[in-house]
Structures are given as C-alpha cells and as structure tokens.
C-alpha cells in the first residue's frame, strides 16, 4: 500500500468536518474522491496533502508516518498536490514556474532546466516556456500547475478539482494528460465534481457525505448505490424513485 | 505612594493607548492590513486640537473636530490609496502607508517645527488630589473619556447593525457581498472609524501632555505592541492590552528610568512575538503564515 489513511478526523473547534475516513491506495491506482459540497472531501484531501493536521487518526505514506508532516516534508517524500485555484507564480515565466518544482530533486540549474523542459514537453507547454505565467488563461494555468508538481518527481499526485471550469474539449485534453501521467507510474488521487471525469478516469471511488465516507468501490457501482444517490439528491428521493418504479 | 501615582498615570495613558489601538486592530482584523501611518493619525489629532485652540474655540471642540477631520482623512486614504494596493504585492501594501507616514510626519515637522508644545491653559488645568495621589485634571479627563470611547467602539462593533455589517465583511467578504453588504463601503467606513479613533485619542492627549510631530513614530510602535499583545483583530484585546502597556510603561519609567521605558515596551513586543504571537485574545491561526 502506497498510502494508508486510517480513521482520519478533522475538527475545527466544535465543528467536525471529517470523521473517521479510511482510504488505502495502492501503487499505480487512480482513486477519486467525490461528494457534495461541504461533505468533507476537501478536508480529507488537505489532510493528505499536509496542509491540515488531522485531529485524529493516522496517515502513512510508503510506510512513513506523515500524519503531522509539513507540506514541505510531503513534497520531499514524493507527495505532490495541485490547488483548486491555481497558485501560479505570476511574476515568473512558465519555465521558471516549473523549474521551482524541478529544483526539488535536481539541485543544479542545468539539471533542473532539463527536467523542466521535459515536463513542459509532456504537458504541451513547451512552446510557451519563456512567456510570463500571467499570460495563461485558466486551462493553461491548470496545466502549468500540474507541470510544476510533475517536475518534483512525485510518486503520488493529489489533484484538487483540476478539471473544474474547463470546456468539454479542454476536459478531454486534461483527461489525456492525467492518463499520460498515470502511464509514467504515478499514483493519482483526484477530487472531482464532474461525474464524467470520475467515471472515465477513476478505477476506484470514495464517496463523502457530511464528513463521513458512505461508499467505496468501482465508479459504475458507486453511482447506483442508494446512499450515494441520497447524498447527492437528498431528502428521500431515492426511496421515492423506487416507489414510483 | 509614588509608585501608585505612577501606576494611575500609566493606566490613564493606557486608556488612550487602548482607544487608538482599537482603531488599528479593527483594520488589521478586517483587511489583514497594517496601517503604518496610524501613529501619524494620532499626531494629526493633536495638531487639529492645536489649530482649534488657535481659533479660540474651547476644549470641548477639540475631540469632535479631530474626529471629523481624521474620519475624512481615513476615508480619503482608503479610497485613494488603500483600496488599490490591497490587491497588490506585500511590498506595495507596506510601502503605501509607510510613505503616507513619512509624508504626514515631515509635513508636520515642516509646518509646526519640531518643538514640543502644549495647549494653552483652560478650565482643565490644575491637579486633583485623590486620596494622596495627585492627578492632573486634564490627564484624568483624557483617560476617562478615552476609556469610555474605546468601550463605545466595542459596543458599536458588537451591538449595532452597522457594527455587525463591519464584522461580517471582516469575517467573510464574499458572504457579506451576497447578503447585500458593500465590502468597499464598509472598509472605507472602517478606515474612517480607525482614523477617527486615532484622532480623538490625539486630541485628548494634547489636552494633557506635551506633543510634537515626532510622537507619531512612537505611537505607531506603541500601537503595534498593543495590538500584538491584545491579539489580531480583537478590539477587547486591544483595550486590555492598552491598559497593560500603559501601566508597564509607567512603572518601567519609574523603576528603571524614563529613558528605558521605551526599551521595555519594545522589548515586550519582541517577547510577545517570540512567545505568544497570537496575543492574549487571539486564537493563533491568523498569525501563522
């Protein structure tokens, strides 16, 4: 198991945003985290990423306890994450953005440069390398966000709604990119709202609702789960649908 | 006995510190922004009082005049400068009010020269003997009024509709917008309020203590210490901390020497940063980067 999260809970004061979440991710898997807004998936995600410290439970990565590890330590260990709203380094060029990521494992400038160019080729940003990052629109920024993390050679990539706000065509390209990354042997955990993406990409899905995990399994199975339908549509809809036949 | 005297004096001055520091912490809490020119706002309040005294109006006009003048200035500064730099890099945010501080300070030096002045004698002169402790009438009045106004500010923020609108913007700007509150207007108002609190504090101090354009710098630092001790964005915290700092300053001045009282206060500031940056009433999460 590459990633083992056991009974992870996170409370903000008296508000229990996440309660006893469990997830095991094996090397090479693509796992999706889904659920309505405020369901706790973002909280869980941020606990995995090292942005939030869980108030209960434990998280192990590659057999190392990372429950209380900092974001910096996460990156060093091989966990990379993107941000929902791309945190682009606006004042720097696209190449420089990626180089910051590359410098993690390649301390010399020439090596970092080579790695960065390689990643830019993989993500299709090579032609724009010397342009300012500011010049990119949202799809480009999301792509850059992913490129930057890739350059740091992660073993596990945590994608935070990396495909939100994209047009259908852009979504296709993004799915392609995620597949390419996966083909490199990188394990992926993705938080996503867009069902189409989850159904196509994820091999396994974990569903959150009101701070708890309510279902886990193959995407095609999970969408038929009555509890999941209940969570999304709410208020006994499923039961009513059943009755109507 | 003299120790007690020093303590009382310190508490009275501390009330004034509480007043103007409340203004600073309000802005900090609302906009995550430090106004480096806040000390100069206090200083300007003092000089407004001076100008008012020159046109032979009585001391009862000082406070309101300073409040109005500084409120206006606060709003103008927000609309013309702060609003725009808020979206920019940290450097320009810090530079903006820092530049303002320089401008105000040296303009005051240029116009009023660097001598310390006092306001002309009024009905407020003279000392009172309260059970062996001598307190100047002016200092007593300044301290009491400041305490009342600081409390009033707290009440305004927590118990009025206007106050809750201001706090809503501080809490969650987007949510406030959705509720029909204009964050921009509220922030401008907050700046006006903050500057006014500084101005009134200045006017009150001018009645009781000598002043010069150089005090702005000192008060800015005092305000920093008070808000840091009191806690990020907490007006009650600033109030309590104001009294504490006033007291500590007075006692340090008495026990160690007037020269070192500033040293003690700044040293306290560094100590607070080192040991408990969230201050007395902060929760800690806001201070971490």
């Amino acid at each position: 198991m590459l990633l083992e999260a056991q009974n992870v809970s996170c409370a903000f004061g008296s508000l229990l945003a996440l309660s006893e979440a469990n997830l095991s991710v094996g090397q090479g898997e693509i796992v999706g985290l889904i659920g309505p807004n405020g369901a706790g998936k973002s909280t869980f995600f941020n606990c995995l990423a090292g942005d939030l410290k869980p108030t209960g439970g434990s998280i192990r990565f590659n057999d190392v306890d990372v429950t209380r590890a900092t974001a910096e330590q996460h990156a060093l260990l091989g966990i990379g994450r993107t941000f929902q709203v791309p945190a682009t380094f606006e004042d720097m060029t696209i190449l420089d953005n990626v180089m910051v990521g590359a410098f993690l494992r390649h301390h010399r400038r020439a090596d970092a440069h080579a790695k960065a160019m390689e990643v830019l080729r993989l993500t299709g940003l090579e032609a724009q390398a010397d342009l300012g990052a500011r010049s990119l629109g949202t799809p480009g920024r999301k792509r850059l966000e992913i490129a930057r993390v890739l350059a740091a050679d992660p073993k596990l990539m945590l994608l935070d709604e990396a495909l939100a706000g994209l047009t259908p065509a852009e979504i296709q390209r993004a799915i392609e990119l995620v597949r390419r990354i996966h083909a490199l042997g990188i394990t992926i955990v993705i938080v996503e709202h867009i069902m189409e993406v989850i159904l196509t990409l994820a091999q396994r899905v974990l569903v959150f609702n009101q701070g708890r995990t309510i279902a886990q399994g193959k995407p095609s199975d999970v969408v038929k789960d009555p509890q999941v339908i209940e969570a999304y549509l709410g208020h006994g809809r499923h039961a009513r649908r059943e009755r109507r036949g | 006995m003299i120790l007690l005297q020093a303590a009382v004096g310190g508490l009275l001055l501390g009330a004034v510190y509480a007043l103007f520091s409340s203004g600073l912490t309000l802005i900090w809490g609302m906009m995550n922004f430090i106004n480096f020119a806040h000390g100069e706002f206090v200083m300007l309040g003092m000089y407004v009082a001076l100008l008012v005294s020159w046109v032979n109006l009585g001391p009862e006009v000082f406070g309101p005049a300073a409040a109005v003048a500084l409120m206006l200035l606060g709003v103008i500064v927000y609309m013309g400068l702060i609003k725009h730099v808020m979206r920019g890099p940290m450097l320009s945010q810090i530079l903006s009010t820092f530049g303002l501080a320089l401008l105000l300070r040296y303009s005051a030096f240029y116009i009023f020269k660097s001598d310390f002045r006092t306001l002309p004698d009024t009905a407020l002169s003279g000392t009172l003997n309260l059970g062996g402790i001598y307190v100047s009438r002016a200092q007593l009045l300044a301290g009491l009024l400041a305490a009342v106004l600081a409390l009033g500010m707290h009440v305004l923020l927590t118990r009025t509709a206007l106050g809750s609108r201001l706090l809503a913007v501080a809490e969650d700007r987007n949510a406030a917008m959705l509720m029909g509150i204009h964050p921009d207007r509220m922030q401008a108002l907050a700046w006006g309020l903050s500057a006014a609190s500084a101005g009134i504090a200045g006017a009150l101090m001018a009645i009781a203590y000598p002043f010069s354009p150089s005090v702005g710098e000192t008060f800015a630092l005092t305000a920093f210490v008070v808000v840091s001790l009191g806690g990020f964005g907490s007006v009650p915290g600033a109030m309590i901390a104001g009294f504490i700092i006033g007291l500590v300053e007075a006692l340090a001045g008495y026990l160690i020497g007037p020269i070192y009282k500033d040293v003690v206060v700044y040293g306290l500031f560094v100590g607070v940063l080192w040991i408990r940056p969230q201050g007395l009433l902060g929760t800690g999460s806001e201070s971490r980067s």
């Binding site: 060093l76 400038r109 | 940290m90 903006s96 300070r105 980067s289």
Partner: protein, 334 residues
C-alpha cells in the same frame, strides 16, 4: 542583447564618472556625490535580496548598517586598530542579529516581520544612544589622520569611489549568482506564492532566514564603508529609521527584485537629494522626506515594479516606434 548593452553602458559610465567630472568646476563635490551614490546603491542592493527578491519587507535594515558602521569604529576606539579589521566582526554581529530577528518572525505573517524589524531597530537605537561605551548620543569617531594606508583615510573622494564601486560590483555579482541558483528560484517562489512554494518542497522559513542573513551581511559592509569614509557615526546617522527608508525607496524606485533596479534608484535619488539639499538648505532634509513619502506612495499606488517595470512597459513601444521610423526612412531612400 539590449540588456547587455545597457549594463555595459552603466558600468562603463560608473567607471569613468569621476574622471569625466574632474573637468568641471565642482569636480570635487560631484565626485563626493558619486561616492555617496555608489554607497547608496550597495545598501539598496543588499536590501533588495530580502526585500525585493524574497518579498520580505524589512523596515529595520538600519540595524545592520549601523552594526557595520559601529563595530569598525569601535575597533579603533577601543583597540586603536584600523577600522578595516572590524569589518568582518561587524558582518558576524549583523548576521547573528538577523538570525535572532528572523527565527521567531518568519513563521508568522509578513506584516509581523515588518513590524518587528521597525521595533528592533528602534530598540537598538535607543539602547546604543544611551550606552556610554558605544558613544551614547555623541557617537564614535574613527582615526583623524591616516597612520597606515589601510586606515583608508583619503582627502579626495575618488579612492573611496572606486573602493565602493568594486564592492558594488561584487554585490551585484553575488545577487546575480544567487538569482540564477536554486536558492534564488526558491526566494522568488516565496515572494510569488508562499503556500504553493511550500507544496513544492521549498523550505520556506530556512530560505527566508538565509536571505535575511545574506542581506544583513552585505548591508553591514555598506555601513562599514560609510564609517570608513565619513570617519564618524552616531545613533541618528547609523541607526536611524531614515537609513532603512533610504534603502527601501532606492531599491523600490528603481525596481525591487530586479538586478539593476537598486542602482537605477540610486542614480535617480542621490542627485535629487543632493539638489534638494542645496536648494532648500538646512531644512532641506525635511522637505526631502516629504518628497520621499510622496514618491513612495505614488510608487506603491501606480507602479510598484519601479522604474524597471515602467521601462519594460514603455520600451517595447519605443522600439516599435523607432523601427517604424527606420523602415519609413529606408522606404523613402529606396
């Protein structure tokens, strides 16, 4: 290509300046202004490392300047040593202080750091101003007449000018080497987005601290150079807040976070300050700071990137204009 020309012109100009100016009537005075200009540039470049590249706005750099100024002169006053010996010690003290200030404050939000730097600078100024060993309010003097050549006492400003220029060149080189290195990229990432930088493995706190310490060391050198040239320092001239302000505005006006910005800032501001001092006489310094305050505000409001940023926006249009002119000339000639 354009940038290469620009820096060649700049360094060339700086190199020949004292010679060129010696042909004018006020040659001596202008050479002195030149020395001040170069010194101001060194200080601004030093601040630029932590304030410009890393984006951590220190408003208390006078601490390090003052340290660099006081320690060498103390070496003379207490041990009759040539001030030059004190320079490395000044650096060590400055770097230590930077570490002490940075350690607690760099884990907090940026504003705390700025406030702390102001407070500590004031604190030190007050303490020094009342400590007899350090000259109290009167200050400390260096050797009045040269005993050995490495006392570095010259009548003319020209030797100082070239010593300063050499140090400036070294400072710029250090900045350039740093900016292109892993450390430099990490600094810029911290300025551009701390949270994202952290997620990429940038050791934020340690990096900020090192930048601050490097900046402190270079600032200390600037202070030492000042003390050696002027031969005197007191709490006002060595530790006053205006010294910190001067460094910030010089770097920011030219372009904080750029390689040559601080030098450009010095080229604009030092002659300006000299001129206002001459026009307005003794009270000129008050008006100078009113002007500074106004400039800083305008800078923050309209062009925080300083002169370099302004140039970057304007010059493409200028070049286009020139090229269009050249094309029409050629078309006409053909």
């Amino acid at each position: 290509m354009r940038r290469r020309w620009g820096s060649i012109v700049l360094w060339g100009g700086l190199l020949v300046y004292p010679w060129v100016v010696s042909f004018t009537d006020s040659g001596d005075f202008l050479q002195d202004v030149g020395a001040t200009l170069v010194l101001s540039a060194i200080g601004a470049c030093a601040w630029n490392i932590v304030g410009g590249y890393a984006g951590q706005v220190s408003v208390g750099h006078a601490i390090f300047f003052g340290t660099g100024a006081y320690v060498p002169l103390l070496a003379y006053e207490l041990f009759e040593a040539p001030p030059l010996i004190g320079v490395p010690f000044g650096i060590v003290v400055a770097v230590t202080m930077a570490a002490l200030i940075g350690l607690p404050t760099f884990r907090l939000q940026g504003h705390y750091f700025s406030m702390a730097t102001i407070a500590v600078a004031e604190l030190i100024r007050l303490v020094v101003g009342n400590w007899d060993l350090l000259g109290a309010a009167i200050g400390i003097q260096g050797p009045a007449t040269p005993r050995v050549w490495w006392d570095l006492i010259f009548r003319s400003a020209v030797p100082y000018y070239y010593i300063f220029l050499a140090v400036l060149a070294l400072t710029v080189y250090i900045t350039w080497a740093m900016a292109g290195s892993r450390f430099g990229y990490y600094l810029r990432a911290i300025r551009a987005g701390e949270r994202a930088a952290r997620s990429l493995g940038v050791p934020v706190r340690r990096t900020k601290l090192m930048a601050f310490m490097l900046s402190a060391a270079l600032t200390s050198v600037a202070g030492s150079l000042y003390a050696i040239k002027v031969g005197f320092v007191n709490p006002e001239s060595g530790l006053g807040i205006l010294i910190s302000v001067q460094m910030i505005i010089t770097a920011a006006l030219g372009g904080a976070g750029t390689l040559y910005g601080p030098i450009i800032g010095a080229i604009i501001l030092v002659p300006l300050q000299s001129a206002t001092n001459t026009w307005f006489g003794g009270s000129g310094s008050g008006l100078t700071y009113i002007l500074y305050g106004g400039i800083i505000m305008l800078l923050a409001r309209f062009e925080p990137g300083g002169f370099v940023e302004l140039w970057n926006q304007v010059s493409p249009r200028l070049w286009r204009l020139l090229r269009v002119r050249a094309k029409t000339e050629r078309a006409r000639a053909a």
